[in-house]
C-alpha cells in the first residue's frame, strides 16, 4: 500500500440546501417551528472510490456541476464527506484556488507573507524565498503598491509564484490555466512539465482535454456526482467528449428547430435553372443508418447524403459538394466530374441519392455543406443550395490549422556538428 498517495473509499456528500424564500413574517415563523422541513437534500457525490498512486499525474474531468469541485474540496480537507473515507499518505496542498486570502488593502509584499503563512511557511522561510517569488512573478516594481491597484493578471502571477513554492507531497490544481496571458500560460505549462519530470503526485481538475491528455497518466470522469469512468486518461477524455456530444446533440436539435423557423423568414441562397432540384442533404453515421451531427476522432469519415429529383430529362449531370468552415472559408470542394464518376441519364420525376464519404481530417469546429448539380460540362447550374447541411467536428488533439489528423513524430539527437 506504500505506493498509494490518496485512497478515496466510497465517498458520498450530501448538502442541505435551506429554503430561504420566506415571503412573510407569518410563513417564516411557521418555518421556524418546522425548521427540519425547510431544506432539501442534494447529493453532490455518490459512492466515489478511486486511488491515486505516488508520482502520478491524476486528472479529474467532468462538466459543470458534476461534483468535481466538491470532490476536490473533500480531498483538500475543506469539506468533510457525509459517508466514506479518504486516506492521505503524505502532506497535501491545503488550497484549491490561487491567491486565497489576498487582501486588496494590503501591499503586494504584505500579501506575499500572508499568503505564505496560509500555505504553512514561517516569516523566515518567506523572507528567504521572497526575492525568487517576486522575480518569477515579474513584479519587482509593484511590490509596495496595494493589491487593489494590480491588474487581475498581475494578481494571478503573484499568487501562482507563491503557490508553486508549496512543498507538499501531493498537489491539487484546479484549472489555473484558465487565466493569464500566453507568456504566463507557458510558465504554467513549464511548471507542470517540471512536476511531471520530478514525479510529483498531482491531482489536476480541468475541462481542457488537451492539457489533461498531455500531462495526466490516469483519471476519472464524473457526471452528476457519479464516477462514470476511471483509468487511462485517453479513455477518460474520450468518454468525456462523448458525454459532451450527447448533451450537445440534444441542445443542437432544439437550436435547429429555432433556426428552421428563422430560415422560413430568410431562406439561404439558392440558384440555378431547377431542371434538377436538390431536395435534401444530411450528415450520417458511417453505416448510413441515422443522422449524425457531431464527428469525433472515432469517426474516420464524414458521410453526407444528398437527394436530387429531376424535373427535366438531362444527360449525365454533374453532382458537386462544397464545405465551408464557420468563417465561411471554402475548405473542401468536389464533384463527380473531377472524380471521373459516370452519371447516367435522368428522366423527369426520378430521384437520385448521392453519398459522399469525406475523410475526417477537419479540425474542431462547425461546418456547412452546400450540395449542387450542374450540366454535363459543369457550366450551367441546375440547382445550388447553400448551407443545406450543418455538422460539427470535435477532436481531442489540439491544432490551430485546418487539418487535424492522427499523426506521429520522431525526434533524434544527431550529436554535435563541429564544422
Amino acid at each position: 500500500m506504500d505506493d498509494i498517495a490518496i485512497g478515496v473509499d466510497n465517498v458520498s456528500k450530501l448538502f442541505k440546501l435551506p429554503h430561504e424564500k420566506n415571503a412573510s413574517i407569518k410563513s417564516s415563523t411557521i418555518n421556524f417551528y418546522k425548521r427540519n422541513k425547510s431544506y432539501e437534500l442534494q447529493q453532490a457525490l455518490k459512492d466515489i472510490s478511486f486511488e491515486v498512486k505516488k508520482g502520478e499525474f491524476f486528472g479529474i474531468v467532468g462538466r459543470n456541476g458534476s461534483g468535481k469541485s466538491t470532490l476536490l474540496k473533500i480531498l483538500a480537507g475543506i469539506y468533510s464527506p457525509t459517508r466514506g473515507s479518504i486516506s492521505v499518505n503524505g502532506t497535501l496542498t491545503p488550497f484549491i484556488e490561487l491567491g486565497v486570502g489576498f487582501n486588496p488593502e494590503l501591499t503586494g509584499r504584505e500579501n506575499v507573507y500572508l499568503n505564505g503563512a496560509l500555505l504553512g511557511f514561517s516569516r523566515k522561510e518567506m523572507q528567504a524565498m521572497y526575492d525568487d517569488i517576486v522575480e518569477f512573478a515579474e513584479l519587482e516594481k509593484f511590490m509596495d503598491q496595494k493589491l487593489k491597484n494590480y491588474s487581475s493578471g498581475m494578481q494571478v502571477r503573484l499568487a501562482f509564484s507563491i503557490a508553486i513554492r508549496a512543498q507538499s507531497d501531493i498537489l491539487l490544481i484546479d484549472e489555473v490555466l484558465a487565466v493569464g496571458d500566453a507568456i504566463f500560460q507557458k510558465k504554467c505549462y513549464d511548471y507542470f512539465k517540471e512536476l511531471k519530470k520530478n514525479k510529483r503526485t498531482v491531482i489536476f481538475v480541468s475541462h481542457d482535454t488537451t492539457a489533461l491528455q498531455e500531462y495526466c497518466d490516469r483519471g476519472i470522469l464524473l457526471d452528476g456526482g457519479e464516477l462514470v469512468e476511471k483509468g487511462k486518461i485517453g479513455r477518460v477524455a474520450r468518454d468525456y467528449i462523448d458525454l459532451l456530444n450527447a448533451s450537445e446533440e440534444k441542445a443542437e436539435k432544439k437550436k435547429e428547430d429555432i433556426v428552421n423557423q428563422d430560415k422560413k423568414q430568410e431562406p439561404p441562397k439558392r440558384w440555378g435553372t431547377r431542371d434538377i432540384e436538390v431536395i435534401s442533404a444530411e450528415t450520417l453515421d458511417s453505416r448510413e443508418f441515422s443522422q449524425k451531427k457531431i464527428f469525433t476522432d472515432r469517426d474516420k469519415s464524414i458521410t453526407l447524403r444528398v437527394i436530387y429529383r429531376a424535373k427535366e430529362k438531362k444527360d449525365s449531370p454533374v453532382y458537386g459538394i462544397t464545405i465551408y468552415d464557420s468563417a465561411g472559408e471554402n475548405i473542401f470542394q468536389s464533384n463527380s466530374m473531377w472524380l471521373r464518376e459516370q452519371t447516367s441519364e435522368i428522366t423527369p420525376g426520378l430521384e437520385v441519392e448521392v453519398i459522399w464519404d469525406i475523410p475526417n481530417i477537419f479540425n474542431s469546429g462547425s461546418f456547412t455543406a452546400s450540395p449542387a448539380v450542374a450540366d454535363k460540362a459543369g457550366s450551367v447550374i441546375y440547382d445550388w443550395r447553400d448551407e443545406l447541411a450543418t455538422f460539427k467536428v470535435r477532436k481531442t488533439l489540439q491544432s490551430a490549422a485546418f487539418a487535424n489528423v492522427a499523426h506521429t513524430m520522431r525526434i533524434k539527437n544527431k550529436g554535435e556538428n563541429n564544422d
Binding site: 475543506i78 488550497f95 487582501n103 505564505g116 496560509l118 504553512g120
Partner: protein, 267 residues
C-alpha cells in the same frame, strides 16, 4: 494536542493574521495607531465629567475616576472580543471555503488583536494611576491571572458565538441585547454598594465579569472595591464564577470543534 495546536506552522499563521488585522484596523485613518490610545483617553474624560463631576457618583470610593476607567476598559475588551469573534468565521468565509487551515486560528487571531488593544488601553490606565497618585498595591501582581480569567471566559463565548453565527444569523442581534443587559447588570458605572439589596448583590456577583472587574479594581486601584469574597463572606459560592468560566470555555470549545467541520459548506 497542545503541541499540534501551537506547531510552528500554526504560530506563524497566527502571527501573520494578527499582523494583518492590526494593519487593516486603522487603515486610512490619519492618526492610525494613536486611536488605540486616544479612544480610552477621550472615554475617560467623558466618564469623569458625567459621573464624577455632574452626578457626584462614587464619592466614597477613592480614585473613583480611575476605578471607573479600569472597569470600562475591561468591559470594552470583553465586548469587543466577543463581538468581533462572533463575526470572524463568517467574515473570513473566503479562507474557510478555499483553504484548509485550523478554523480556531481565525477566532484566536481576532482575540489576540483585541487583547493587544486591551494592553494599549491598560497603558493609558497606568498613566492615570500615576496622575491620580494611586499607591502601587502589591496585589497588582494578581492582575495577569484575573485578566487570564476574563480572556478565557471571553474566548469560550467567542468560540461558541462564532460557530453558532455560521448557522443562525440571529445570533448577533441576540448577543447585542445580552451585552447591553450585561453592561448594566455589571457594576461598571456604579459602585456595587449602591445596590442595597444583598440578594441582588450576590446574584450580580455570580457573573464572572462582575467578579473579575471588582477583583481587578481591588487588585490595582483600591481595596475598597467590594469583591466576591466580601459579598459571600467566604463559603463555596465564591467559586461559582470560576466554575461558570470553565464550563463556558469547555462548552464553547466542544461546540466549535463539532461545528467547524461544516463551516465551509454552511457559510
Amino acid at each position: 494536542m497542545i503541541r499540534h495546536v501551537f506547531s510552528k506552522k500554526n504560530r506563524a499563521l497566527l502571527a501573520e493574521l494578527v499582523r494583518t488585522d492590526f494593519k487593516l484596523r486603522y487603515q486610512g485613518s490619519a492618526l492610525g495607531y494613536a486611536w488605540s490610545l486616544l479612544r480610552p483617553l477621550l472615554l475617560f474624560i467623558i466618564l469623569y465629567l458625567v459621573f464624577a463631576k455632574f452626578l457626584k457618583l462614587g464619592t466614597e470610593v477613592p480614585h473613583f475616576p480611575v476605578y471607573l476607567l479600569l472597569g470600562i476598559v475591561i468591559w470594552n475588551f470583553f465586548n469587543e472580543m466577543t463581538v468581533q469573534s462572533l463575526g470572524s468565521i463568517v467574515g473570513r468565509g473566503d479562507l474557510i471555503r478555499k483553504i484548509r487551515i485550523p478554523r480556531w486560528i481565525i477566532v484566536l487571531s481576532t482575540s489576540i488583536s483585541t487583547l493587544i488593544n486591551l494592553f494599549l488601553n491598560l497603558l493609558v490606565v497606568v498613566v492615570f494611576l500615576f496622575i491620580n497618585h494611586v499607591d502601587l498595591l502589591r496585589t497588582t501582581l494578581w492582575l495577569p491571572l484575573i485578566l487570564l480569567e476574563v480572556y478565557i471566559f471571553a474566548l469560550g463565548l467567542s468560540l461558541f458565538l462564532s460557530a453558532a453565527y455560521v448557522k443562525y444569523r440571529d445570533v448577533n442581534y441576540i448577543w447585542e441585547v445580552i451585552l447591553q443587559a450585561g453592561f448594566y447588570l455589571t457594576p461598571i458605572l456604579y459602585p456595587l454598594a449602591l445596590i442595597t439589596n444583598v440578594t441582588f448583590q450576590k446574584l450580580i456577583m455570580l457573573n464572572p465579569m462582575s467578579q473579575a472587574i471588582q477583583d481587578i479594581r481591588y487588585a490595582a486601584v483600591t481595596h475598597q472595591s467590594r469583591t466576591i469574597y466580601q459579598v459571600f463572606e467566604g463559603g463555596w459560592y465564591k467559586f461559582i464564577p470560576f466554575i461558570i468560566v470553565v464550563l463556558v470555555f469547555l462548552i464553547g470549545l466542544t461546540y466549535f470543534r463539532k461545528e467547524s467541520k461544516y463551516f465551509a459548506e454552511n457559510i
